[in-house]
Protein backbone atom coordinates (compact mmCIF):
# COMPACT_ATOMS: atom_id res chain seq x y z
CA UNK A 1 0.00 0.00 0.00
CA UNK A 2 2.79 2.39 1.01
CA UNK A 3 6.26 1.94 -0.39
CA UNK A 4 9.32 3.94 0.56
CA UNK A 5 12.42 3.09 -1.40
CA UNK A 6 15.84 4.65 -1.29
CA UNK A 7 14.49 7.84 0.30
CA UNK A 8 17.20 10.45 0.82
CA UNK A 9 16.87 14.01 2.00
CA UNK A 10 19.48 16.72 2.22
CA UNK A 11 18.89 20.10 3.78
CA UNK A 12 21.09 22.64 2.05
CA UNK A 13 23.71 20.03 1.23
CA UNK A 14 23.65 18.48 4.73
CA UNK A 15 22.47 14.91 4.62
CA UNK A 16 19.63 14.43 7.11
CA UNK A 17 18.18 11.15 5.83
CA UNK A 18 20.60 8.88 4.00
CA UNK A 19 18.61 5.93 2.72
CA UNK A 20 15.29 4.60 3.91
CA UNK A 21 13.55 1.60 2.39
CA UNK A 22 10.54 -0.13 3.89
CA UNK A 23 6.89 -0.65 3.08
CA UNK A 24 3.48 -1.08 4.66
CA UNK A 25 0.89 -3.61 3.56
CA UNK A 26 -2.72 -2.61 3.25
CA UNK A 27 -4.25 -2.28 6.71
CA UNK A 28 -1.00 -2.49 8.59
CA UNK A 29 -0.09 -0.27 11.59
CA UNK A 30 3.63 0.40 11.68
CA UNK A 31 5.43 2.54 14.23
CA UNK A 32 8.64 4.42 13.50
CA UNK A 33 10.98 5.27 16.36
CA UNK A 34 14.38 6.86 16.42
CA UNK A 35 16.50 9.30 18.39
CA UNK A 36 15.51 12.93 18.46
CA UNK A 37 16.52 14.75 15.29
CA UNK A 38 17.04 11.59 13.29
CA UNK A 39 14.59 12.60 10.60
CA UNK A 40 11.26 11.09 11.59
CA UNK A 41 9.36 14.24 10.79
CA UNK A 42 11.33 14.61 7.57
CA UNK A 43 10.37 11.07 6.54
CA UNK A 44 6.74 11.70 7.28
CA UNK A 45 6.63 14.96 5.38
CA UNK A 46 8.21 13.28 2.38
CA UNK A 47 5.64 10.49 2.52
CA UNK A 48 2.85 13.07 2.78
CA UNK A 49 4.14 14.83 -0.30
CA UNK A 50 4.71 18.03 1.66
CA UNK A 51 8.46 17.95 1.09
CA UNK A 52 10.29 16.86 -2.06
CA UNK A 53 12.83 14.08 -1.47
CA UNK A 54 16.40 14.55 -2.67
CA UNK A 55 16.45 11.02 -4.07
CA UNK A 56 14.36 7.86 -3.87
CA UNK A 57 10.63 7.44 -4.23
CA UNK A 58 7.50 7.10 -2.16
CA UNK A 59 4.43 5.50 -3.63
CA UNK A 60 0.95 5.05 -2.30
CA UNK A 61 -1.21 2.29 -3.79
CA UNK A 62 1.27 2.04 -6.65
CA UNK A 63 1.09 5.77 -7.47
CA UNK A 64 4.26 7.78 -7.07
CA UNK A 65 3.86 10.64 -4.58
CA UNK A 66 4.72 14.12 -5.90
CA UNK A 67 2.26 16.23 -3.95
CA UNK A 68 -0.18 15.47 -1.13
CA UNK A 69 -2.05 12.33 -2.33
CA UNK A 70 -5.84 12.57 -2.25
CA UNK A 71 -6.54 9.65 0.05
CA UNK A 72 -4.14 10.40 2.78
CA UNK A 73 -4.70 12.15 6.10
CA UNK A 74 -2.12 13.45 8.54
CA UNK A 75 -2.34 14.10 12.25
CA UNK A 76 0.34 16.59 13.21
CA UNK A 77 2.12 16.76 16.52
CA UNK A 78 1.17 20.40 17.02
CA UNK A 79 -2.54 19.93 17.50
CA UNK A 80 -2.81 23.50 18.76
CA UNK A 81 -1.68 24.78 15.39
CA UNK A 82 -3.34 22.32 13.04
CA UNK A 83 -6.92 23.28 13.90
CA UNK A 84 -8.45 26.48 12.60
CA UNK A 85 -9.05 28.53 15.75
CA UNK A 86 -11.85 30.56 14.18
CA UNK A 87 -13.87 27.45 13.35
CA UNK A 88 -15.88 25.30 15.71
CA UNK A 89 -15.03 21.68 16.25
CA UNK A 90 -17.63 20.57 13.74
CA UNK A 91 -16.56 23.14 11.14
CA UNK A 92 -12.98 21.98 11.48
CA UNK A 93 -13.92 18.39 10.88
CA UNK A 94 -16.31 19.30 8.09
CA UNK A 95 -14.09 21.65 6.08
CA UNK A 96 -12.05 19.02 4.15
CA UNK A 97 -15.27 17.21 3.23
CA UNK A 98 -16.84 20.44 2.00
CA UNK A 99 -13.81 21.16 -0.11
CA UNK A 100 -14.18 17.66 -1.55
CA UNK A 101 -17.86 18.41 -2.31
CA UNK A 102 -19.20 15.51 -0.28
CA UNK A 103 -23.01 15.89 -0.34
CA UNK A 104 -24.45 17.56 2.72
CA UNK A 105 -26.26 14.62 4.21
CA UNK A 106 -23.40 12.20 3.94
CA UNK A 107 -21.08 14.90 5.25
CA UNK A 108 -23.12 15.38 8.38
CA UNK A 109 -23.19 11.64 8.92
CA UNK A 110 -19.42 11.38 8.60
CA UNK A 111 -18.76 14.30 10.91
CA UNK A 112 -21.15 13.01 13.51
CA UNK A 113 -19.71 9.53 13.43
CA UNK A 114 -16.14 10.76 13.62
CA UNK A 115 -16.89 12.99 16.59
CA UNK A 116 -18.73 10.15 18.27
CA UNK A 117 -15.76 7.85 17.71
CA UNK A 118 -13.52 10.22 19.67
CA UNK A 119 -16.29 10.93 22.23
CA UNK A 120 -16.60 14.56 21.30
CA UNK A 121 -20.15 14.49 19.94
CA UNK A 122 -21.28 16.64 22.87
CA UNK A 123 -19.16 19.69 22.01
CA UNK A 124 -19.50 20.21 18.25
CA UNK A 125 -20.09 23.95 18.71
CA UNK A 126 -17.04 24.61 20.85
CA UNK A 127 -13.96 26.34 19.50
CA UNK A 128 -10.62 24.50 19.68
CA UNK A 129 -9.23 26.87 22.27
CA UNK A 130 -12.09 26.06 24.58
CA UNK A 131 -10.90 22.45 24.74
CA UNK A 132 -8.11 20.75 26.63
CA UNK A 133 -5.03 19.58 24.75
CA UNK A 134 -6.18 16.00 24.62
CA UNK A 135 -9.56 17.02 23.31
CA UNK A 136 -7.97 19.15 20.61
CA UNK A 137 -5.86 16.24 19.49
CA UNK A 138 -9.01 14.14 19.37
CA UNK A 139 -10.59 16.74 17.09
CA UNK A 140 -7.61 16.41 14.75
CA UNK A 141 -8.04 12.65 14.84
CA UNK A 142 -11.75 13.00 14.16
CA UNK A 143 -10.97 15.17 11.16
CA UNK A 144 -8.64 12.50 9.85
CA UNK A 145 -11.22 9.75 10.37
CA UNK A 146 -14.05 11.68 8.76
CA UNK A 147 -11.84 12.18 5.74
CA UNK A 148 -11.89 8.37 5.26
CA UNK A 149 -8.28 8.10 4.20
CA UNK A 150 -6.67 4.96 2.85
CA UNK A 151 -3.45 5.94 4.54
CA UNK A 152 -3.14 7.72 7.86
CA UNK A 153 0.09 9.35 8.98
CA UNK A 154 0.69 10.49 12.54
CA UNK A 155 3.70 12.50 13.72
CA UNK A 156 4.24 12.10 17.45
CA UNK A 157 0.61 12.94 17.97
CA UNK A 158 0.68 12.47 21.74
CA UNK A 159 3.99 14.09 22.57
CA UNK A 160 2.37 16.99 24.36
CA UNK A 161 -0.53 15.39 26.22
CA UNK A 162 -0.34 14.05 29.71
CA UNK A 163 0.21 10.41 30.42
CA UNK A 164 -3.35 9.51 31.32
CA UNK A 165 -4.86 11.21 28.28
CA UNK A 166 -2.13 9.63 26.22
CA UNK A 167 -3.08 6.14 27.30
CA UNK A 168 -6.69 6.86 26.39
CA UNK A 169 -5.75 8.23 22.98
CA UNK A 170 -3.51 5.22 22.29
CA UNK A 171 -6.39 2.91 22.94
CA UNK A 172 -8.62 5.09 20.78
CA UNK A 173 -6.21 4.80 17.85
CA UNK A 174 -6.01 1.04 18.27
CA UNK A 175 -9.79 0.68 18.39
CA UNK A 176 -10.32 2.87 15.33
CA UNK A 177 -7.63 1.11 13.40
CA UNK A 178 -9.12 -2.26 14.17
CA UNK A 179 -12.57 -1.06 13.12
CA UNK A 180 -11.60 0.79 9.92
CA UNK A 181 -8.46 -1.07 8.87
CA UNK A 182 -6.70 2.07 7.69
CA UNK A 183 -3.06 1.67 6.74
CA UNK A 184 -1.30 3.66 9.45
CA UNK A 185 2.24 5.01 9.83
CA UNK A 186 2.80 6.18 13.39
CA UNK A 187 5.89 8.21 14.25
CA UNK A 188 6.91 8.53 17.89
CA UNK A 189 9.98 8.78 20.04
CA UNK A 190 8.37 6.87 22.87
CA UNK A 191 9.54 3.28 22.73
CA UNK A 192 6.80 2.01 25.03
CA UNK A 193 4.22 3.58 22.81
CA UNK A 194 5.70 2.13 19.64
CA UNK A 195 5.84 -1.38 21.04
CA UNK A 196 2.36 -1.09 22.53
CA UNK A 197 0.72 0.15 19.32
CA UNK A 198 2.58 -1.34 16.40
CA UNK A 199 2.34 -4.56 14.47
CA UNK A 200 5.85 -3.69 13.42
CA UNK A 201 8.35 -1.16 14.73
CA UNK A 202 10.86 0.43 12.35
CA UNK A 203 13.89 1.67 14.26
CA UNK A 204 15.84 4.49 12.66
CA UNK A 205 19.48 5.36 13.27
CA UNK A 206 20.70 8.79 14.20
CA UNK A 207 21.17 11.25 11.34
CA UNK A 208 22.26 10.61 8.54
CA UNK A 209 19.47 8.14 8.91
CA UNK A 210 19.07 4.55 7.79
CA UNK A 211 16.73 1.77 8.95
CA UNK A 212 18.43 0.00 11.84
CA UNK A 213 15.84 -2.68 12.32
CA UNK A 214 12.38 -3.61 11.15
CA UNK A 215 11.00 -5.44 14.15
CA UNK A 216 7.89 -7.61 14.17
CA UNK A 217 5.92 -7.14 17.42
CA UNK A 218 4.71 -10.58 18.38
CA UNK A 219 2.32 -9.53 21.12
CA UNK A 220 -1.32 -10.62 21.17
CA UNK A 221 -3.47 -8.56 18.82
CA UNK A 222 -5.80 -7.55 21.66
CA UNK A 223 -3.87 -4.99 23.74
CA UNK A 224 -4.53 -3.47 27.11
CA UNK A 225 -2.69 -0.73 28.96
CA UNK A 226 -2.09 -2.77 32.08
CA UNK A 227 -1.84 -6.41 31.14
CA UNK A 228 -0.03 -5.97 27.82
CA UNK A 229 2.56 -3.68 29.35
CA UNK A 230 3.06 -6.11 32.22
CA UNK A 231 3.90 -9.01 29.87
CA UNK A 232 7.53 -10.16 30.08
CA UNK A 233 7.62 -10.21 26.27
CA UNK A 234 6.68 -6.50 26.29
CA UNK A 235 9.63 -5.72 28.55
CA UNK A 236 11.85 -7.82 26.26
CA UNK A 237 10.81 -5.97 23.11
CA UNK A 238 11.04 -2.65 24.88
CA UNK A 239 14.51 -3.44 26.14
CA UNK A 240 15.55 -4.59 22.69
CA UNK A 241 14.44 -1.38 21.00
CA UNK A 242 15.92 0.69 23.80
CA UNK A 243 19.28 -0.99 23.37
CA UNK A 244 19.11 -0.45 19.61
CA UNK A 245 18.50 3.23 20.02
CA UNK A 246 21.26 3.57 22.58
CA UNK A 247 23.50 1.90 20.04
CA UNK A 248 22.28 4.26 17.37
CA UNK A 249 23.02 7.26 19.55
CA UNK A 250 26.40 5.95 20.58
CA UNK A 251 27.39 5.33 16.97
CA UNK A 252 26.65 8.92 16.12
Amino acid sequence: MLEISGLKKEYGGREAVRELTFSLDRGELVCVVGPSGCGKTTLLRCVAGLLPATAGTVSVAGERVTGPPPNMAVVFQEYGRSLFPWMTVRQNVELPLKERRVPRERRERLVFDALAAVSLDDVPGAYPWQLSGGMQQRVAIARAIAYEPQVLLMDEPFAAVDAQTRAELEDLILALWQRLGTTTLFVTHDIDEAVYLGQRVVVLSASPTVVLEDLKIDLPAERDQLSTRALPRFADLRGHVYAQIQRAKGAR
Binding site: A48, P68, M72, F76, S82, F84, P96, R143
Partner: protein, 241 residues
Protein backbone atom coordinates in the same frame (compact mmCIF):
# COMPACT_ATOMS: atom_id res chain seq x y z
CA UNK B 1 -15.65 55.98 41.58
CA UNK B 2 -12.13 54.95 40.71
CA UNK B 3 -12.78 55.48 37.04
CA UNK B 4 -14.01 59.00 37.63
CA UNK B 5 -11.63 59.98 40.40
CA UNK B 6 -8.62 60.96 38.34
CA UNK B 7 -10.44 62.83 35.56
CA UNK B 8 -12.32 64.87 38.14
CA UNK B 9 -9.06 65.64 39.89
CA UNK B 10 -7.46 66.75 36.63
CA UNK B 11 -10.35 69.05 35.75
CA UNK B 12 -10.19 70.55 39.22
CA UNK B 13 -6.46 71.15 38.83
CA UNK B 14 -7.14 72.88 35.51
CA UNK B 15 -9.78 75.02 37.12
CA UNK B 16 -7.53 76.00 39.97
CA UNK B 17 -4.71 76.85 37.60
CA UNK B 18 -6.86 78.95 35.30
CA UNK B 19 -8.25 80.82 38.29
CA UNK B 20 -4.88 81.52 39.88
CA UNK B 21 -2.64 82.02 36.86
CA UNK B 22 -5.00 84.10 34.74
CA UNK B 23 -3.16 82.84 31.65
CA UNK B 24 -4.67 84.13 28.42
CA UNK B 25 -4.18 80.71 26.81
CA UNK B 26 -5.72 78.69 29.63
CA UNK B 27 -9.36 79.72 30.01
CA UNK B 28 -11.32 78.18 32.84
CA UNK B 29 -13.06 74.88 32.05
CA UNK B 30 -16.52 76.37 32.36
CA UNK B 31 -15.84 78.81 29.56
CA UNK B 32 -14.51 76.00 27.42
CA UNK B 33 -17.62 73.93 28.07
CA UNK B 34 -19.81 76.89 27.20
CA UNK B 35 -17.76 77.52 24.07
CA UNK B 36 -18.11 73.84 23.25
CA UNK B 37 -21.88 73.99 23.42
CA UNK B 38 -22.06 77.27 21.48
CA UNK B 39 -19.64 76.18 18.83
CA UNK B 40 -20.43 72.58 18.14
CA UNK B 41 -24.12 72.04 18.88
CA UNK B 42 -25.54 73.31 15.64
CA UNK B 43 -24.57 74.07 12.10
CA UNK B 44 -20.85 73.60 12.73
CA UNK B 45 -21.36 69.95 13.46
CA UNK B 46 -22.81 69.46 9.98
CA UNK B 47 -20.45 71.85 8.21
CA UNK B 48 -17.18 70.90 9.83
CA UNK B 49 -17.32 67.72 11.89
CA UNK B 50 -19.26 65.60 9.41
CA UNK B 51 -17.12 66.34 6.33
CA UNK B 52 -14.01 65.62 8.40
CA UNK B 53 -15.31 62.29 9.56
CA UNK B 54 -16.54 61.50 6.05
CA UNK B 55 -13.13 62.14 4.53
CA UNK B 56 -11.49 60.12 7.26
CA UNK B 57 -13.83 57.20 6.59
CA UNK B 58 -13.26 57.40 2.85
CA UNK B 59 -9.49 57.56 3.21
CA UNK B 60 -9.47 54.75 5.73
CA UNK B 61 -11.55 52.46 3.55
CA UNK B 62 -9.47 53.14 0.45
CA UNK B 63 -6.26 52.58 2.42
CA UNK B 64 -7.64 49.29 3.76
CA UNK B 65 -8.55 48.04 0.30
CA UNK B 66 -5.18 49.01 -1.15
CA UNK B 67 -3.20 47.83 1.88
CA UNK B 68 -4.82 44.44 2.15
CA UNK B 69 -5.10 44.03 -1.62
CA UNK B 70 -1.39 44.60 -2.14
CA UNK B 71 -0.31 43.05 1.14
CA UNK B 72 -1.68 39.58 0.41
CA UNK B 73 0.20 38.97 -2.86
CA UNK B 74 3.37 40.56 -1.49
CA UNK B 75 3.15 38.43 1.64
CA UNK B 76 2.62 35.26 -0.38
CA UNK B 77 5.46 35.69 -2.83
CA UNK B 78 8.98 35.84 -1.44
CA UNK B 79 10.28 37.24 -4.71
CA UNK B 80 7.74 40.03 -4.87
CA UNK B 81 8.48 40.82 -1.26
CA UNK B 82 12.21 41.10 -1.83
CA UNK B 83 11.58 43.41 -4.77
CA UNK B 84 9.07 45.64 -3.07
CA UNK B 85 10.55 45.82 0.41
CA UNK B 86 13.10 48.66 0.01
CA UNK B 87 10.60 50.74 -1.95
CA UNK B 88 7.94 50.22 0.71
CA UNK B 89 10.38 50.96 3.51
CA UNK B 90 11.28 54.22 1.83
CA UNK B 91 7.74 55.42 1.30
CA UNK B 92 6.76 54.42 4.77
CA UNK B 93 9.60 56.43 6.25
CA UNK B 94 8.50 59.68 4.61
CA UNK B 95 6.52 61.66 7.17
CA UNK B 96 3.05 61.92 5.56
CA UNK B 97 2.68 65.69 6.19
CA UNK B 98 5.53 66.50 3.79
CA UNK B 99 3.55 64.80 1.07
CA UNK B 100 0.74 67.32 1.43
CA UNK B 101 2.39 69.93 -0.80
CA UNK B 102 3.18 67.28 -3.39
CA UNK B 103 -0.26 65.78 -3.39
CA UNK B 104 -1.65 69.27 -3.77
CA UNK B 105 0.50 69.76 -6.84
CA UNK B 106 -0.66 66.51 -8.34
CA UNK B 107 -4.36 66.26 -7.56
CA UNK B 108 -5.41 69.71 -6.46
CA UNK B 109 -7.09 71.01 -3.39
CA UNK B 110 -10.57 69.54 -3.18
CA UNK B 111 -11.75 66.68 -1.01
CA UNK B 112 -9.84 64.15 -3.07
CA UNK B 113 -6.60 65.77 -1.92
CA UNK B 114 -7.56 65.38 1.72
CA UNK B 115 -8.67 61.82 1.22
CA UNK B 116 -5.47 61.04 -0.61
CA UNK B 117 -3.38 62.51 2.19
CA UNK B 118 -5.18 60.25 4.63
CA UNK B 119 -4.69 57.27 2.33
CA UNK B 120 -1.02 58.05 1.88
CA UNK B 121 -0.45 57.75 5.60
CA UNK B 122 -2.89 54.98 6.52
CA UNK B 123 -1.89 52.58 3.82
CA UNK B 124 1.56 51.76 5.21
CA UNK B 125 0.70 50.27 8.59
CA UNK B 126 -2.06 48.26 6.93
CA UNK B 127 0.10 47.09 4.06
CA UNK B 128 3.12 46.14 6.14
CA UNK B 129 1.07 44.37 8.78
CA UNK B 130 -0.81 42.45 6.12
CA UNK B 131 2.47 41.39 4.53
CA UNK B 132 3.79 40.25 7.91
CA UNK B 133 0.56 38.50 8.79
CA UNK B 134 0.37 36.61 5.52
CA UNK B 135 4.03 35.75 5.65
CA UNK B 136 3.81 34.41 9.17
CA UNK B 137 0.83 32.18 8.48
CA UNK B 138 1.14 29.08 10.58
CA UNK B 139 3.08 26.46 8.64
CA UNK B 140 1.32 23.61 10.33
CA UNK B 141 -2.00 25.11 9.36
CA UNK B 142 -0.77 25.63 5.80
CA UNK B 143 0.40 22.00 5.67
CA UNK B 144 -2.97 20.92 7.02
CA UNK B 145 -4.64 22.77 4.16
CA UNK B 146 -2.44 21.08 1.60
CA UNK B 147 -2.99 17.64 3.08
CA UNK B 148 -6.75 17.87 3.20
CA UNK B 149 -7.05 19.71 -0.10
CA UNK B 150 -8.44 22.82 1.60
CA UNK B 151 -8.11 25.90 -0.58
CA UNK B 152 -5.94 28.58 0.94
CA UNK B 153 -8.57 31.26 0.82
CA UNK B 154 -9.93 29.73 4.03
CA UNK B 155 -6.61 30.38 5.65
CA UNK B 156 -5.05 33.58 4.37
CA UNK B 157 -7.31 36.41 5.46
CA UNK B 158 -8.47 34.75 8.65
CA UNK B 159 -5.01 33.60 9.60
CA UNK B 160 -3.53 37.03 9.00
CA UNK B 161 -6.42 38.92 10.56
CA UNK B 162 -4.83 39.52 13.98
CA UNK B 163 -1.93 41.29 12.30
CA UNK B 164 -4.19 43.08 9.85
CA UNK B 165 -6.29 44.36 12.72
CA UNK B 166 -3.15 45.58 14.46
CA UNK B 167 -2.32 47.49 11.29
CA UNK B 168 -5.81 48.91 11.07
CA UNK B 169 -5.55 50.11 14.63
CA UNK B 170 -2.30 51.94 13.94
CA UNK B 171 -3.80 53.32 10.75
CA UNK B 172 -6.73 54.74 12.66
CA UNK B 173 -4.60 57.00 14.81
CA UNK B 174 -2.47 57.99 11.82
CA UNK B 175 -5.69 58.71 9.94
CA UNK B 176 -7.03 61.10 12.57
CA UNK B 177 -3.73 62.96 12.61
CA UNK B 178 -3.72 63.30 8.85
CA UNK B 179 -7.36 64.29 8.77
CA UNK B 180 -6.41 67.27 10.90
CA UNK B 181 -3.23 68.08 9.01
CA UNK B 182 -4.85 67.87 5.60
CA UNK B 183 -7.39 70.40 6.76
CA UNK B 184 -4.71 72.79 7.84
CA UNK B 185 -3.79 73.26 4.18
CA UNK B 186 -6.04 74.62 1.47
CA UNK B 187 -9.30 74.01 3.20
CA UNK B 188 -12.53 75.77 3.88
CA UNK B 189 -14.17 73.29 6.20
CA UNK B 190 -13.30 70.60 8.68
CA UNK B 191 -12.27 70.24 12.30
CA UNK B 192 -8.60 70.95 11.72
CA UNK B 193 -9.44 74.02 9.68
CA UNK B 194 -11.87 75.34 12.26
CA UNK B 195 -9.43 74.94 15.11
CA UNK B 196 -6.74 76.78 13.19
CA UNK B 197 -9.25 79.51 12.37
CA UNK B 198 -10.03 79.91 16.06
CA UNK B 199 -6.35 80.01 16.84
CA UNK B 200 -5.70 82.70 14.23
CA UNK B 201 -8.63 84.67 15.58
CA UNK B 202 -7.32 84.21 19.12
CA UNK B 203 -10.60 82.65 20.21
CA UNK B 204 -8.92 80.55 22.85
CA UNK B 205 -11.90 78.90 24.54
CA UNK B 206 -13.31 77.92 21.14
CA UNK B 207 -9.96 76.52 20.15
CA UNK B 208 -9.81 74.41 23.30
CA UNK B 209 -13.32 73.18 22.62
CA UNK B 210 -12.14 72.01 19.21
CA UNK B 211 -9.22 70.15 20.74
CA UNK B 212 -11.66 68.60 23.16
CA UNK B 213 -13.91 67.54 20.30
CA UNK B 214 -10.98 65.93 18.52
CA UNK B 215 -10.18 64.07 21.72
CA UNK B 216 -13.75 62.85 21.99
CA UNK B 217 -13.70 61.80 18.36
CA UNK B 218 -10.44 59.88 18.79
CA UNK B 219 -11.77 58.23 21.91
CA UNK B 220 -15.07 57.28 20.26
CA UNK B 221 -13.35 55.85 17.20
CA UNK B 222 -10.88 53.81 19.21
CA UNK B 223 -13.69 52.48 21.39
CA UNK B 224 -15.69 51.52 18.33
CA UNK B 225 -12.63 49.90 16.86
CA UNK B 226 -12.01 47.84 19.96
CA UNK B 227 -15.60 46.65 19.90
CA UNK B 228 -15.27 45.62 16.26
CA UNK B 229 -11.95 43.94 16.87
CA UNK B 230 -13.38 41.84 19.67
CA UNK B 231 -16.10 40.67 17.34
CA UNK B 232 -13.80 39.80 14.47
CA UNK B 233 -11.00 38.24 16.48
CA UNK B 234 -13.22 36.45 18.98
CA UNK B 235 -11.11 33.35 18.49
CA UNK B 236 -7.76 34.97 19.07
CA UNK B 237 -6.05 34.39 22.40
CA UNK B 238 -6.05 38.08 23.24
CA UNK B 239 -9.85 38.10 23.23
CA UNK B 240 -10.64 34.78 24.86
CA UNK B 241 -12.60 35.28 28.00
Amino acid sequence: MRVLGLPVLLVLAWWAYSAVADNFYVPDPLRVVRAFADTWFGQRLLDDALPSVGRLAAGYVVATVIGVGLGVPIGLSARLRATAEPVLEFFRAIPPPVLVPLIMLLVGIDDSMKVLVIVSGCVWPILLNTVEGVRALDEVLADTCRMYGISRRHLILRGASPQIMAGLRQALSVGIILMVISEMFASSSGLGFTIVLFQRGFQIAEMWSGILLLGLLGFALSTAFRWLERRILFWHWSNRA
